[in-house]
């Protein structure tokens, strides 16, 4: 019910919103929760397991019950706390976890069946037969849970940024604002964040006054000062959700964009110092049926009144174990709510508190124990107290409870800071910090307003000192005390909270009705009985209790329940709370949307896309692209009416019978110059590179320190002290780092300069029997040079076309097994050269070919791809390159190859495979076994590492790594690929890797 005046809402404007389809109205300044309360809505959801009716319980981030689906049906965000959602025009909210409706939820049958659903029930009850678990799981997930994930991508926009500051103040309540005000006068860069829509924290929710003005006006004044200060940044609706290494704090900022949706921004703030002014959260009390709608935290009841001018009920009872709830009695009674009684668990509340009640004629019951009654809503409480033997019944629609205050330790604890138990407050407070942080205000267990303001100032001075600022220093590097005097108006008195849990047996004896459930954790439906049962079953560690009962494991991470659970466990163990310990706090403080963590790195922007300089040419030629690492490369070039299969076949034939050309610009390319190049390459590659003469190329294999193949590629000696080396596409970055490490760190004495030129040089391979004839057309005056280049030779030539000359590096190397040339040109002339070659093509039926054709061509030849046919467990001997190992020099990985295990039997060796039945397909990733059959065929003895269909051989060709494969040449084994193309095993014969032109005659023509 809305009050006619008061509160921080703009009554001049109306915001329309809906809840479960019902049209409602609120005002700017409302949260969704306050607007629902103002509209008299009490039932907002059904509980996790028992489907019990639940209402709004709190006014902040600790809310366990009021989790709604917000937004249009298809993209609604589930599990959104109504208490933290500012109201906006057109907001659509829906309750969750019920069937068929919120009011009539048939699944609440679970509540009656609760003896079956005790702690760990699904681990015990649904354990056999094991096969049926997927069925059980589906069923259980239907009946227990929270909201559903949206079916479609929402309209939200997410972005991410890095920020840096000297001081990050988390929380803009009294302590945070006091600290910020002091630091604003220095030249330190200060960022203040608060999860609410406006700063003030509890000052907005309490009826207080500072310096003669009320708390809200004071907040506004300080905020204006801070906004005016150039060195201060204020962020609202921003939750500091995680504290990470080296003072990195993650902030989720919700930005109003338009009216209908919020976009979010993730800040990663590296702060030199952090102030935790995170406040505290009120604890509930545990008694029978303490989860009925109408029961809420006492602080929340007055927060809705003071900040939102919304009355939570007509007739209320207050149940407390400390003085803070007396403020709720006073505020609500003054606002015209019929406060029937205050029931205090303690025998002797403060005299001043008692006086404030009697002024208003509110009854006080000391030593009180209560139980709540009602079906879908609180109807009454039954109460017994030390003044009478007789239990009495009080009709009411609202019960405000307070079990004391728990400091919001989350971020302090995440930062590695120690926690200390404060017996006076019966809770943990921050201990010695681990990183550069200070805690200030209520998080330190302080609850007086003056104390909190003073503590904020103290924190500011501590921080200032850490930056070397002193009071009264000149030139603005000073921090001076504010002159403002603060009236000592208490937020509330604190007292040692006594019992928080009503004893079940005693309650029954006293006749207040104890048959209901005593909830410890509302969000996950964990009751006292569950905790007791866990204890009986030996889950006596606090971490075990959490996992077994799920206490504190909901999206609220037990903000209201952890300490009560802990108290209960300590009682069962008959040990003090600090001995029992506390569960670990982990990020995030409140749930974070996955989209926010992904930011802009979604879809095509998940990773960068690399395109070669010839990309446009490939597009023109009808290329079908695919990713090769980050590179986008043509798989094949489609002609009109062709399928990919026929295109690939055509391209392969062109290379084998005529001539083809392909873009090899993605290969890693390096230039090496200096007097010690030969020595350097000798150390890096397994073969002898010092014998390589100018004008010749050599295939090289490099190993890691452990003797395994790291990469392969070619080395070309351009000149006496000038080399050009290529690496495989996928390993270019890794090889660069490897070589840089060797040159910069290990062998700085070598006179070698290394430059990566992958992007600077483009490469085109021209392959096929007619390749030389084609290039002759382009070589112009260098025709003779071209003719004289031998297999594995190099020459610098000039390509000529209508008077234009392009200097190119011509390497006669082949990855296809045909006579072939790789032509490297500076990247800016690449398209011109591509066109030049293409223009001379028609006479030779030249065809561009893509990755797929290239793959089949090299598989036919038994040429490997490092990463597929050699993985991190493969030695040169395993791939049949043992003969390349130099016996006359040392190289990286040589010692590791001398280990006996590298030469023993049982190693996976590279072989070729040929299907026994020619029609059978062979596919990459298939496992190989000795026996056929769909069961009991034994362990895998290897896998197919590369495969493709060879149109010339009219069968699939494959390379495989097979255990002792070379020893078993000619034998038949089986390819098992049940998950993909071949449901039945395929018999394959182990053959030599090279299936085409094994003598290599075609290469050398």
């Amino acid at each position: 019910m809305r009050m006619s005046q008061g509160g921080l809402i703009d009554r001049g404007r109306i915001l329309n919103f809906s809840f479960n389809g019902r049209s409602l109205q609120g005002h700017p300044g409302d949260s969704l929760a306050s607007a629902l309360i103002a509209n008299g809505i009490r039932l907002v959801g059904r509980s996790f397991k028992y489907h019990r009716p639940r209402g709004i319980f709190s006014a902040g981030s600790e809310e366990p019950n009021a989790m709604l689906r917000i937004g249009p049906e298809a993209t609604a965000e589930p599990n959104t706390r109504a208490t933290q959602t500012p109201l906006y025009e057109g907001l659509q909210a829906r309750s969750q976890n019920h069937w068929p409706s919120l009011e009539v939820d048939l699944l609440s049958i679970n509540n009656l069946l609760s003896p079956v659903f005790s702690t760990g029930f699904y681990n015990k009850t649904f354990i056999s037969p094991r096969k049926l678990w997927p069925v059980y799981e589906k069923m259980l997930r239907h009946i227990a849970g929270h909201g559903r994930a949206p079916g479609q991508r929402g309209p939200e926009q997410f972005e991410q940024c890095f920020s840096h500051c000297d001081v990050l103040i988390i929380g803009a309540g009294p302590a945070g604002l006091a600290a910020a005000r002091r630091l604003a006068s220095t030249d330190l860069r200060v960022v203040v964040v608060d999860e609410c829509e406006r700063p003030g924290g509890w000052l907005l929710k309490e009826n207080t006054s500072i310096d003669g003005s009320n708390g809200t006006d004071w907040c506004d004044r300080i905020t204006r000062q801070l906004s005016a200060a150039e060195n201060v940044t204020l962020l609202y609706l921003t939750t500091a959700f995680g504290f990470y290494d080296h003072n990195l704090v993650a902030l989720a900022e919700r930005l109003p964009s338009g009216a209908a949706t919020f976009s979010q921004r993730l800040h990663r703030v590296r702060a030199k110092q952090v102030v935790f002014a995170t406040g505290s959260i009120e604890r509930p009390l545990v008694f029978a049926n303490n989860d009925l709608p109408g029961i809420m935290l006492a602080g929340a009841a007055r927060a809705y009144l003071n900040q939102f001018a919304a009355k939570v009920g007509q007739r209320m009872v207050i149940y407390t174990n400390n003085d803070s709830a007396y403020r709720s009695a006073v505020d609500l009674s003054d606002a015209g709510v019929d406060v029937a009684a205050v029931a205090d668990l303690r025998e002797a509340p403060h005299a001043s508190a008692i006086a404030r009640l009697s002024e208003r004629g509110i009854s006080l019951y000391k030593g009180a124990r209560i139980a709540a009654h009602g079906r879908r809503h609180l109807r009454s409480v039954r109460l017994c107290h030390s003044g009478s033997e007789q239990a009495l019944q009080l009709d009411c629609d609202t019960l405000a409870v307070s079990g004391g205050w728990t400091p919001t330790l989350h971020l302090h604890s995440q930062s590695g800071g120690a926690v200390r138990f404060e017996p006076q407050l019966d809770t943990f407070v921050p201990g010695t910090p681990k990183q550069a942080t200070v805690a200030a205000g209520a998080v330190n267990g302080l609850h007086g307003l003056q104390e909190c303001l003073d503590d904020g100032e103290r924190a500011a001075v501590t921080i200032a000192k850490r930056f070397g600022l002193v009071t009264g220093a000149p030139n603005g590097r000073s921090i001076d005390p504010s002159n403002e005097s603060v009236e000592n108006q208490l937020l509330f008195d604190t007292d040692c909270p006594a019992v928080k849990v009503v004893n079940q047996h005693k309650a029954r004896r006293r006749g207040i009705g104890a048959s209901g459930k005593y909830f410890v954790d509302f969000q996950n439906d964990v009751t006292i009985s569950d905790v007791r049962q866990a204890y009986r079953e030996s889950y006596v560690s606090v971490e075990h209790l959490k996992r077994y009962t799920t206490l504190g494991m909901g999206t609220d991470q037990g903000k209201t329940s952890n300490l009560n659970g802990l108290d209960l466990l300590a009682g069962l163990r008959e040990e003090p709370v600090p001995k029992v310990g506390i569960t670990t706090f982990r990020p995030p403080y409140t749930p974070v949307t996955l989209g926010l963590l992904a930011g802009q790195s979604q879809g095509a922007h998940l990773s960068p896309t690399r395109k070669t300089v010839l990309h446009a040419k490939h597009e023109q030629a009808g290329a079908v692209f695919d990713f090769n690492g980050l590179w986008l490369r043509p798989r094949c070039y489609l002609r009109h009416g062709e399928t990919e299969e026929t295109a690939i076949g055509r391209e392969i034939r062109a290379v084998r019978e005529g001539v083809g050309m392909t873009d090899v610009s993605t290969l890693g390319k390096f230039e090496i110059q200096g007097a010690d190049c030969a020595e350097f390459l000798n150390r890096v590659y397994i073969g002898n590179m010092d014998t390589l003469v100018s004008g010749r190329c050599r295939y090289g294999l490099m190993l890691s320190d452990d003797g395994m193949v790291l990469d392969d590629g070619t080395v070309t000696r351009l000149d006496q002290q000038h080399y050009f080396i290529t690496t495989s596409t996928g390993h270019a970055e890794h090889v660069l780092q490897h070589l840089e490490f060797l040159l910069d760190v290990l062998w700085p004495e070598l006179d070698v300069n290394l430059v990566a030129v992958t992007e600077q040089w483009a490469g085109v391979a021209v392959a096929g029997p007619a390749s030389r004839k084609l290039l002759r057309q382009l070589a112009g005056s260098d025709t003779e040079v071209l003719e004289s280049v031998p297999y594995m030779g190099y020459a610098s030539i000039e390509l000529e076309e209508s008077g234009q000359c392009i200097k190119a590096r011509l390497l006669r190397i082949s990855y296809s097994g045909e006579m072939a040339y790789e032509i490297y040109v500076p990247a800016h002339s690449a398209t011109h050269v591509w066109e030049l070659i293409l223009n001379h093509g028609p006479g030779f039926d030249l065809q561009p070919y893509g990755m797929d054709a290239m793959d089949v061509l090299r598989i036919e030849k038994g040429f490997i791809v490092v990463g597929a046919d050699a993985d991190g467990r493969t030695t040169p001997m395993d791939i049949g390159m043992g003969a390349m190992l130099s016996k006359t020099k040392h190289f990286i990985g040589r010692h590791a190859l001398t280990r006996p295990a590298m030469h023993e039997s049982g190693r996976f060796q590279l072989v070729g495979l040929q299907a026994v039945n020619y029609q059978d397909g062979l596919f990459e990733g298939a496992q190989l076994t000795r026996l056929a059959g769909d069961r009991g065929y034994g362990a895998s003895i290897g896998h197919i590492s590369s495969a493709g269909f060879s149109p010339l051989l009219q069968r699939h060709v494959a390379l495989a790594l097979v255990r002792d494969g070379r020893k078993h040449l000619g034998q038949t084994i089986y390819s098992q690929d049940p998950a993909r193309a071949c449901p039945t095993p395929v018999g394959v014969t182990i053959v030599e890797p090279c299936a085409y032109d094994p003598e290599g005659a075609r290469l050398r023509r």
């Binding site: 990663r268 320190d705 490490f741 760190v745 290990l746 700085p748 010692h895 590791a896 280990r899």
Partner: protein, 97 residues
Amino acid sequence: MQEIRCPWCGPRVQTEFEYYCDDSLLTEVWGSEAVQQNLDRVFLRSNHLGYHQEIWQHTHGCRGWLRVLRHNLTHEIKESQPLGSNPVVDKDGRMQS
């Protein structure tokens, strides 16, 4: 995400760097026939709780190398020292002359 001080560029976020190897890998006796010693260096490194000498590269920065003394439990970085020759580019990405 840790903060690492690059000896050439100043404090930078961890994602700009790549861990490369343990400091002990720098001690290879090159070309020697001290096979066992070199194999132990590769395969038998200490994985103790406490400070480790680590080799990092400022990969997405100046590409310089650094030796970082880091605690593997607390992630405290005690020091970061330049390693090897100067990086080829400065902090603004310009080539060093």
